[in-house]
Subunit: 250 residues, 8 copies
């Protein structure tokens, strides 16, 4: 944040007090009436804000996308309905995947780096797994998908084990008993982000069973995100991948 | 229950009305003051009543053991403390295992039949696994123990896989993430009785996490007993084994 | 799995390395694009994979049924909607039961063996009980249904008690207070698979009350499956029955 | 409360304003420094206040007992420790039962009326069942105890069924699966007060399982009190019995 | 049940073995194909079975009503939808209340006896309160309704206090904080049946908050039924009232 | 309540007994058939009753609004649907906000006093925040809104910090992690009323996560209302503001 | 915080850059090795930090007390054990109350202002109620205690109603059913801070029942703090009282 | 795993079948009687097994430490009691920290690489935070501790913000409201591993509140481990750091 140079500029009269305060106290926040867009985040976190579309009107989403697209050239929306896509489909580079409900604008290309593997247990877990994959891809990671590898048929996972050897980060998605990340974490050296899904019935209690399984995983190197939070896992995996890339570049 | 022959005997005067009523309405229950021993169970269920020692005084337990030992020659007590053992150690054939807290009297020998495998995840799960093993053994099953085979190190389980091939029933014991029965159930043909244990901390919530994992297991042929209920699992496994034995004998 | 003979064949040049690896590491998994069918399971578990239809498109289900039907001649689908049936009704031997939502193809006949009794508490529990019954039947068990025998009217259960005497396994289905398996387990010698249902309201919490009742059953020889998991109970009962049949045949 | 006659007395000058206000607004509450004894309750509810001893010092309990004993001649304390008894044992008519932890003073005799049956499932439930029985007895009910009649051995309950025929109210106490009240309520005509106990382990969750079972009982004429609340059930049963007695006397 | 005279008749040849077994083992249960009607209940419990209509088809409900109406002249159905009424509206004495969803047939008149008061907290609790009231009325109790008396406006309850003085039983219905039964139970001498309702939002968790409040009520003489179980409370209140009436008649 | 002067008037014959009883026992409650309006509340609490519209028919709501509007000139309804507005829109001063679902009639103007700040975390929390704001405004508080200030972008909150300096009370609204009130409470001197919202998914469990966060806030001067209870928070904030205003006026 | 004048001073050379940064970024935090004391809080919140003693060593607590006492002359510690008191009893003005576990140093006197009423339900709730009272007193509020006023004996509360008329804030403490705040909030005009306590057993679940009751209170003007958090309630009540006092003084 | 070269060696007779099977099926597991040590893990995961000491006897722990120390020169034990340390203190390089309960042997030195920051909220969270720090250090990470930075005093965290700029991974530890990771995650670019602690009381429910807060964090780049699982978070942070180091080295 370079507070020292800002203060020096201010003392030398190169910077107005108002601007100094704006820089120091962060009101670089665009006031667009209904939502405070946080452009500062791009600087702080290295990523622009992501739009959680659920519960927002299509018009609202479109306005945010327009604003962010102009500044950054890449916008990601999650939990979007087809109506959200309709509201932005005229914008250049707009794209929508109904399975994962991921909405994107990408006019500024990114070269994929590193390797993130997304592995999932059952076909019903695919929407969440795909959300994770698309999130990491959008942010700049190269992603390998390995879906439908649940532990009830252990051979399915073992047969693709080699694909995990050079992964920088792994996302493991499972509903019902949520046992996949324990098995993956016991075998794989990369950090594993576990995602419980709400797939199941009865005593799965909307994903609570899988969540608890993952939090209690006996395998080290496993951490967990919220139920059905494919986005959060993909983001976390990308951040790890990006940290590695930054280390590689020195 | 042979109601017909009882009625016939009664009509022919071979049986008193009092005895007929006793047979039909089940008051073959010994009234020993504080507890109603259910000797009928031996007939109905093929097994004598098992004594849950927790919360009973040593004197109380000793009295029940004496009563049952006289009639059946084999008595099983669970969750027994050393003080319970002290109260019966003078009786012939008395035996106590402090790890599993199983208390036994066996003056009538039994030839072990069939095969029950008890597999457990971590060393901390051993007390529950051993309770299951001793219960099945006491009731007459041949038991093979395979402890410390948790899925976080998958090779441990895979290296003993052959031991499960001819099992008539499997008991799978695990705490923390409770993932072991899902892996076992995905590979093994025998019915699997899953036992969650209270081993763990934090979000294991005293075994709730492992319980939910097991109830939501994606592997078919898995059913579940209460948390830490090694006795129940060993009993169930023996009952399955005994059914097979009965079928074998025709 | 006969690893020894495979290795011997390989050493003698009768087997290619690729095939050996395929055999050992289990990639006999058919890759059909969206789902990895696990044909290996038929060998390992003695049963082909069962299709959980809920959340799958009719086209997806139809493709899986076609694939499995060709190989095994018997396919079972659970939680199927009428639309799933429409997609396969042209296939030979297709059959659908709207009450239990069980979808089947059976072109290869099976002689029913042994005896599984399915007992249920109330009329509202019938869909789950019927799912259990049809599952066990499809896999090859002879099944006797005893529905509407809840313990609030004890005479209903007592009047059919004789039917349980020669059962190899019993499935007991109940919602609300879930007390039926405790009563059944106290009287019947066969292993009892308890199925809680989500029938009820208020403090039944979607079947949680019945689930907890069954897990805490005082009767030995009772184990439990997930809420509304008629399939799982029917499968488990059949596995026990099949184990007995195998023992009978030596 | 006879407001009309009080007002008339006041208008005619027979009653002071202060007294009228005291009568109307209920400050007949004895201020003993630390606790407000509610003597009014005897009038309103037909019973004096009962002392919940847990967490109170022996001195505190003794002071309350002395105060109540003087006014009413009968005092009941629940959840009392031996130290509480030590503090009042010199008072005439003092009596303590360590099993149920009930502490009593009874210098004014009561003729027992009607019939309350207290039935319990296991020996471990006896403390709660005895608390219920002693509470009802202290308040004036004739009580019949039928302990150790759990439904896992149905014959035990069926063999004492005749004892319930002329009961005015039944208290049914059970831990673990809590199934007893459902069976009792299905057979018995009297109102059943169900008491879950904290007896059990694992998924009994301190009595929650039994509580939910009882709340979801399919048998009509069953209502429930708090876990381990033998006092509350005994009180409720007595109140019902007393209502019947009042009706009988016209 | 007169087992002795049955046995005597049997010995003397006046009774067939088949009939004796039928009498002893209770298969006086009408087998109507889909549901086992329990006519025995009328003898045992003094009330015919009540029909829980939810989840049953209109045809199914109509068949049960017809069967029961012929035998008893009075049938009660709960949680009935208008379609259920349509299916029976042609039967004599059919009647439906959409608020409480109570469906009735009453061709045999009953003289109301005693007094049951049903008090409720808010207008949203009225459906449950009315279900309680109609249930008690149908079974033969005289019922007084006192709705909309929540404790947040204490004057509302206090102003109708006199109505509770001669009640034989009180039903107190409340959602949200569920505090009403504690206040009622602190003032009223009659036994109070507390009914939590699912009225509320957020941390009411579908009535769980009110349920816990009532189970923890500090006022003695209060017991609780399931959330929204107006029927259960009305039944319980009537049973108490009927016990009093029986005592009155000697 | 001036009991003394009422009694004096009564003694002097200026007041009838009936009226005295009415005053003392509070039956100043208008009986409008279906709902007992509590006009007394205006005196006791300083505010008229607020109408919880959810679950009430439009006609029912309209009747209550008419009754209250005549007496007080200001009526507030919460959780109102458009149909409720339709039923009162002809009344003078009627007004409806679809976002917060607040329905109002205000024919008697109020001068806004003091300062209440309503701060919220995300755009999805706006309905609840707006309900809080409108409630406080309707009751007479001046309200400042600061929406979309979640702690994940701390600069957003810090940039508006000055607005909180002279607040008399603050309402802080947040879903998901519910962390906003902790941050606000750590910096702001005014009392903070925290409102968890049901915004979120998965392990937010309908707002439970945010509720627990707020109850466990490390910042002092924070108290909490029910999930989504914007009304309750706005009311509480106004009451605090009104207490200050009363103190200011002496 | 006067950012403008700080910047001006800095530009004019009156302030060093280091000091400016310190002021702006808040490192006025005393680093005492193990704990970062937040002296800034006194400025920001108007109150010094309060010491949560539980889990801290007596030496640790003594060091913090010494540090705070020197700067402010008044220190408050909560959940203190006697050993904590021993460690500071030599300091001037040290004081400890074993019931509420409140530890204080007060060498700088404060004139009590306004009025806070603390009302509690049962004698077992007194420790929490006293913690609330002592907290508010220590911070400068005049406090009136009204303990043992539970709603099961409504007269107890009604007899002290007048004491609440001029309260600026009320703290209402209750365990078990937690119904007291609903009754208080329905009658009293001041804001009510509800404190659930862990007093109870069984389904009180450590205070959860009382917590839910209070969150669902139908009475407006009630907000809630954590279970057993007497400190938090007393702090909140004082803050409200202090806001009123500030308004009074203009 | 180099399956190809193993097979080639086997075909050429360089490898025995037994050894090939051992290599392929993983029975490189040392059987030490009571525990199966998984030396394979060092190869697979890049880290030797870590010893969870809780519930193990000192002798048992000593034996495992000896075995692992010989092979790897570095052993880590968590949740160790002083008695565990006593049993190994004679071994070279043994070391114990009573606060974090971490037990270590380090005879093989490691050069610390990268940067992991461990930040915690309150002093009571220090044991968990220190466990995380020591774990990461033992595995080879350079660790910076920033304790006592809770968000209720935001300045404490903001004053150390610069320390996070070049972190490769951050561990954020908090109990009670668990809000710290949301604030950290909103500002910091590195991946954040959130650790809820059981610090708190009442509605913290043993850390559940903090756990839910963290799972619902609005800040991206945050994932969560089990309650009090400092070890798991330190391990995960180190794995991320190690991945970065591997990438840096190419």
């Amino acid at each position: 944040m370079n507070v020292d140079s800002l203060l020096e500029d201010f003392r030398q009269g190169k910077l107005e007090a108002a601007e100094l305060k704006r820089q120091l106290l962060g009101n670089s926040i665009a006031e667009a009436g209904f939502a405070r867009l946080d452009h500062h985040r791009l600087l702080r976190k290295g990523q622009a804000e992501v739009v959680f579309c659920q519960g927002k009107t299509p018009e609202h989403v479109a306005a945010i996308f327009r604003e962010l697209a102009e500044r950054t050239g890449r916008v990601l929306g999650t939990r979007a309905e087809p109506a959200h896509f309709e509201a932005i489909r005229h914008m250049p580079g707009a794209d929508y995947d109904p399975l994962s409900r991921v909405l994107r604008i990408a006019t500024r290309p990114l070269e994929p780096v590193g390797k993130v593997v997304v592995v999932s247990a059952g076909t019903a877990d695919m929407p969440v797994a795909e959300e994770a994959a698309r999130t990491a891809e959008h942010l700049g990671s190269a992603v390998l998908r390995r879906f439908d590898c649940g532990v009830a048929g252990l051979h399915r996972f073992l047969s693709v084990l080699d694909d995990f050897l050079d992964a920088r980060a792994v996302v493991a998605v499972a509903g019902m008993d949520g046992a996949l990340p324990s098995v993956v974490g016991g075998v794989v050296a990369a950090p594993v982000i576990a995602v419980p899904t709400s797939v199941g019935y009865g005593a799965s209690f909307g994903g609570l069973a899988a969540l608890l399984t993952m939090l209690n995983s006996c395998a080290p190197g496993v951490s967990v995100v919220n139920i059905d939070n494919g986005f959060g896992a993909g983001y976390m995996a990308h951040v790890i991948n990006a940290q590695c890339e930054a280390a590689r570049k020195g």
